[in-house]
């Protein structure tokens, strides 16, 4: 490299001033040639394009700044109702993903062993022919069920198309592996809701988050942050307070007015302690509870048997002194929280994330949500608000042919997950078991889209073993990652700023909404939209699969889907916050909102602005909003009761035992506290491991970006590396100081990283962030930091099979070696 001395430097500067020899500049300023050319040619015209961020499932609207067509900066879309112009670090670093030097540039076929990283390029025609031939052969052989598809979750148009493809093909092996996919279950059990409701943080005066790290690792963190920010303003009925209860001191804890560190997995007991105060001191909404709640008071059934209700159960068992012993927080503080929750209205309790990541997670969440029931916090300002449906146009039903019909009669390989867990089973482990044992049949071909199961799942180890067993794997990855290493063929998708996309409805958002993502730049490489590839594959396979896709492209399918919104005449294309009042005003007076002459008009404005919403959803009375059979909130978990009674071979008691429910009698079917179970001998492994997520990394995808990789531990000032959080007292006992290398070991292995002394971490807890420790994923991700999932035990929530990330015991040791 040429060295530049001060004299050269001045010479070049002089040259610039003279307006000549601009090319010389790139040596000094490292401005890319293309940029220099455009600076010479183009006038530097600034444009903005709205689209939707696809880097995590939150569905925020983004605004990309382009200079002469080159994107140079990403901000939030100020009109978008989910993030209101805000952005998160992940979204702000989006250009790193688009311009990543290690993107997959054309279809690839594996030429070496799996994991060897040896690939041959392939034309799209060859690649599609290869995959569709294999699929067609399976159908010819009458075994379409041997095809499986792994997706993160079933949301958005592409997910609809994948479900459709699988149905028309004749396989039920569509597996969603997102750990959060069952987070709606507590709401379904209590209220009959099939989606996570919105926590109306903005209007609450006392927010009690029990384990929900919503500012750092929520479902839609920016929507939560926005609500939190509004809550802190005093002009909306007084400044709202936040109390956060968890075993790790997170960003949410740092923002809270009060943080109460509790022992891991005891979130449910804490909630019941609060419930005790509310019931005992009669803060609960008696009118609401009488009218809308079953199972609160004890009752006598038809046979004359007396049953214990929630009230009696709580008053008998969860007096503050006992709860204090379970959770490790003084009784005084529990009573204070109970009184604040009872007195301040509206008060809102929030469950999820860490609280539901133990073996008793579902019960913990139920106990927390029971607090909202006690104060009548349903469909009220500052309470739980149910999500309004978006009027999408659905595709006509699939007409399956004979092959597909026979295939669909075969069970999914993971079907016995429902026997393992009584409620809404997470099928990931069942999937792994059956792939490994090739029962009830072997899976021949697996498609992976939108996720990286070999890395970003707590059971990644098991998933890797399963992947290794499958003969033929097709990946849609834009970047090489741990899972695409197992692929035989990679059909690379466009990067997120190069493709059309919708994001479906974001969970935890009250109003009906839809976001549309337009391509901001032309695709750089020979990649394709995954939806188009699916249509091409369907055509290649023929039969009912080809007939299932009448749309010629993903783009037309997207237009068809959103035509439903246009036809409904509801809501409006997003246009800025002042419109909300205006739309409501019009609607109240019986006017229809902005009407577009034609779908083309609607579409043009929709794409330009980036989304549609309906803020003027009608208020729904509580009876209507409850979708349980009795139209009441029920504290008696009937589905669990039915499952317990349903076993012919086993008694109900045995079944409860098998599901890890130690409570007996009526209490077993109430929202109650179950002791969390931990893997690992307490003597040898004295500490609890907490694995937490970061807004800047999300599902390990942040590691692809050099910027996010560098700022991974920005708030602990640990740059470009993992860290291990230890309470200073604990660290002192092990002679560990800030910055020392520490080894954390479980029965399954160990990881080493720098120690960060975290003053407010519960002393019996060790915390490690998830995201780093990639063994693939391009030059920035590979080989940096550690992945705590590698030492997690394979334990699940005993009711729904959700991975129990808080159930592993570990030991720590100061390590001399760096690595």
């Amino acid at each position: 490299m040429r060295e530049i001395r001060r004299r050269d430097f001045l010479k070049i500067l002089g040259a610039t001033a003279a307006g000549a020899a601009l090319q010389d500049l790139d040596i000094l300023w490292a401005v890319p040639d293309r940029m220099v050319e455009e600076a010479l040619r183009g006038p530097g015209i600034e444009t903005f394009k709205n689209t939707v961020c696809q880097l995590c499932p939150a569905g925020c609207g983004i605004r990309v700044r382009l200079i002469d067509g080159v994107p140079v900066h990403i901000d939030g879309n100020p009109m978008h109702p989910i993030n209101h112009g805000g952005i998160c670090p992940h979204g702000a670093a989006g250009l790193d993903f688009l311009y990543h030097p290690d993107r997959i540039r054309q279809p690839l076929i594996r030429s070496g062993e799996r994991g060897s990283g040896k690939w041959d390029p392939l034309s799209w025609e060859e690649a599609l022919a290869k995959v569709s031939q294999r699929l067609a052969e399976l159908r010819r052989a009458g075994t379409p069920e041997q095809v499986a598809f792994v997706v993160p979750e079933k949301r958005g148009l592409l997910a609809d198309m994948i479900s459709r493809f699988m149905e028309a093909f004749g396989s039920r092996n569509l597996l969603a592996i997102d750990e959060g996919q069952n987070d709606f279950v507590p709401f379904e059990l209590l209220f009959g809701w099939k989606a996570i409701p919105e926590y109306d943080i903005e209007h609450t005066r006392f927010l009690l988050s029990i384990g929900a790290d919503f500012l750092d690792d929520g479902v839609s963190p920016l929507h939560g942050i926005r609500g939190y920010s509004k809550m802190r303003e005093s002009d909306t009925g007084g400044r709202g307070r936040l109390t956060f209860v968890d075993s790790r001191h997170s960003l949410t804890a740092a923002s809270a007015d009060t943080f109460l560190p509790i022992k891991p997995g005891t979130h449910g007991a804490f909630a019941l302690g609060v419930a005790y105060v509310i019931i005992k001191e009669r803060y609960y909404d008696t009118a609401f509870v009488d009218r809308h709640v079953d199972g609160f008071e004890s009752w006598v059934d038809e046979s004359g048997a007396r049953h214990r209700g929630f009230k009696e159960y709580v008053l008998e068992n969860f007096y503050p002194e006992r709860v204090a012993r379970i959770v490790g927080v003084s009784a005084r503080k529990i009573v204070d929280v109970g009184r604040d929750f009872g007195r301040l209205r509206p008060a809102l309790a929030m469950s999820g994330r860490h609280g539901s990541n133990g073996t008793n997670g579902l019960f913990n969440a139920l106990c927390v949500e029971a607090l909202n029931v006690l104060v009548g916090n349903i469909e009220r300002k500052g309470g739980l608000r149910v999500q309004r449906a978006t009027p999408y146009e659905s595709m006509p039903p699939v007409e399956a042919d004979d092959i597909a019909r026979r295939g669909l009669q075969k069970p999914a390989v993971f079907e016995d997950a429902d026997d393992r867990y009584p409620l809404y089973a997470d099928a990931t482990l069942a999937f792994c078991d059956h792939i490994e044992s090739s029962t009830p049949y072997a899976v021949d071909t697996l498609f992976i889209h939108g996720c990286n199961p070999a890395f970003d799942h707590p059971y990644a180890k098991r998933l890797r073993r399963a992947l290794a067993k499958i003969p033929f794997i097709v990946s849609f990855a834009t970047m090489a990652d741990e899972s695409s290493e197992y692929a035989d063929v990679i059909l690379p998708e466009h990067a997120y700023l190069e493709r059309w996309m919708d994001s479906g409805s974001t969970p935890g958002v009250r109003f009906a909404h839809a976001s549309v993502g337009q391509p901001v730049v032309k695709p750089f490489y020979d990649t394709r939209q995954a939806g188009d590839v699916l249509i091409d594959l369907a055509k290649g396979v023929g039969g009912s699969v080809a007939r299932a896709f009448s749309d010629t492209s993903f783009f037309t399918a997207l237009q068809n889907k959103l035509n439903g919104i246009f036809a409904s005449g509801e809501g409006a294309v997003i246009s800025g916050s002042f419109e909300e009042a205006w739309i409501k005003f019009l609607k109240e007076r019986g006017w229809q909102n902005l009407v577009y002459e034609s779908f083309e008009d609607f579409w043009r404005v929709l794409v330009e602005r980036g989304g549609w919403w309906d803020p003027a959803s009608d208020e729904i009375p509580v009876e209507k909003v409850l979708q349980t059979k009795s139209s009441k909130i029920t504290f008696v978990l009937e589905p669990l009761m039915a499952k317990a009674a349903g076993g012919a071979q086993q008694s109900a008691e045995d079944r409860l035992n098998a599901w890890g429910i130690r409570e007996s009698g009526d209490a077993a079917f109430l929202p109650h506290f179950e002791e969390p179970r931990f893997e690992g001998d307490q003597k040898e492994y004295p500490y609890h491991l907490v694995v937490f997520g970061l807004l800047s990394n999300r599902r390990g995808t942040g590691s692809f970006s050099p910027l996010l990789q560098e700022m991974f531990g920005y708030y602990q000032r640990v740059y470009s590396g993992s860290w291990i959080e230890i309470n200073p007292h604990t660290a002192h006992n092990h002679h560990i100081e800030q910055g020392d290398m520490v080894r954390v070991s479980s029965a399954l292995g160990s990881v080493s990283a720098r120690a960060v002394l975290s003053e407010m971490l519960e002393p019996g807890t060790i915390a490690i962030p998830f995201g780093m420790g990639h063994t693939s994923g391009g030059r920035y991700a590979k080989g940096v930091g550690v992945n705590p999932y590698e030492i997690l035990s394979e334990v699940s929530d005993t009711l729904c099979g959700k991975p129990a990330k808080l159930a592993t015991r570990v030991k720590i040791q100061k390590s001399e070696r760096i690595g």
Binding site: F9, H84, Y99, P221, Y228, L251, P261, L707, Y715
Partner: protein
């Protein structure tokens, strides 16, 4: 003449780090390799600082606060610069002239808030990523000190636009990158001496405070403490 300043509402800030990331991309701040990063060579103009209050677990409070350059009215850094590469410019911005900087790093030592960073190495941009650097901000060579400029390039552009339209500069014209990015709307920016601006009002509220006020640097970044 305006006097630019910033107010950060700690009651709204969640420490999410959007400002940190947005600042780096907006200002083309280089990313260093993990090895150099472990040697403290990472460069951040906006950084998250940990504050611990209280002594004994669990009766303590730990907070994270974002820290840009404070653009002090009496900046200690400018007095030590032997070549006047850093100086208090008009309108109260503490400027840094990269091609005058000789890399002595006296200013880094003098800054009590540790806001300045030094380019120890040539910035590492991949050929692909180089294509989308912000053309409004020059890339720095190695051997110079840099820091937060309050997105001065945005002021230049905003002023040109206003002049072209023959109107005075409005508050909404000059916004800084961290302010745009903040999902909690915790960062306000504007003319501290113009009574019509939000920062004027906020910087004079009872919640407003400045860091290490007693050393007399008179920072132009105010923090709003929690409470009503």
């Amino acid at each position: 003449m305006p006097k630019w300043g910033m107010v950060i509402d700690l009651d709204k800030c969640t420490g999410c780090g959007a400002c940190v990331a947005a600042c780096k991309t907006e200002n083309n701040v280089g990313v260093v390799s993990p090895r150099l990063s472990s040697e403290n060579r990472s460069m951040f103009w906006m950084e998250m600082i940990k504050m611990v209050e209280g002594e004994e677990y669990p009766d303590m409070r730990v907070r994270y606060i974002p820290r840009p350059c404070f653009h002090c009215d009496r900046p200690p850094c400018t007095r030590v610069c032997p070549v006047r590469a850093t100086y208090l410019a008009e309108e109260g911005l503490v400027a840094q002239i990269y091609n005058r900087c000789i890399g002595c790093r006296y200013c880094m030592a003098a800054c009590p808030y540790t806001v300045k960073v030094f380019n120890w190495y040539e910035p590492q941009w991949s050929d692909e990523r180089k294509q989308c650097v912000n053309p409004d901000v020059s890339l720095r060579p190695k051997g110079v000190v840099e820091k937060c400029t309050f997105c001065y390039h945005r002021l230049q552009i905003a002023r040109e636009d206003a002049r072209a339209e023959n109107r005075p500069l409005k508050e909404a014209d000059y916004r800084v990158a961290c302010q745009d990015a903040c999902p909690a709307a915790a960062i306000s920016f504007g003319d501290l001496e113009d009574k019509s601006t939000k920062v004027y009002e906020l910087s004079r509220s009872t919640r407003a405070m400045r860091i290490m006020e007693d050393i007399g640097t008179e920072p132009k970044v105010f923090y709003l403490s929690e409470g009503e």
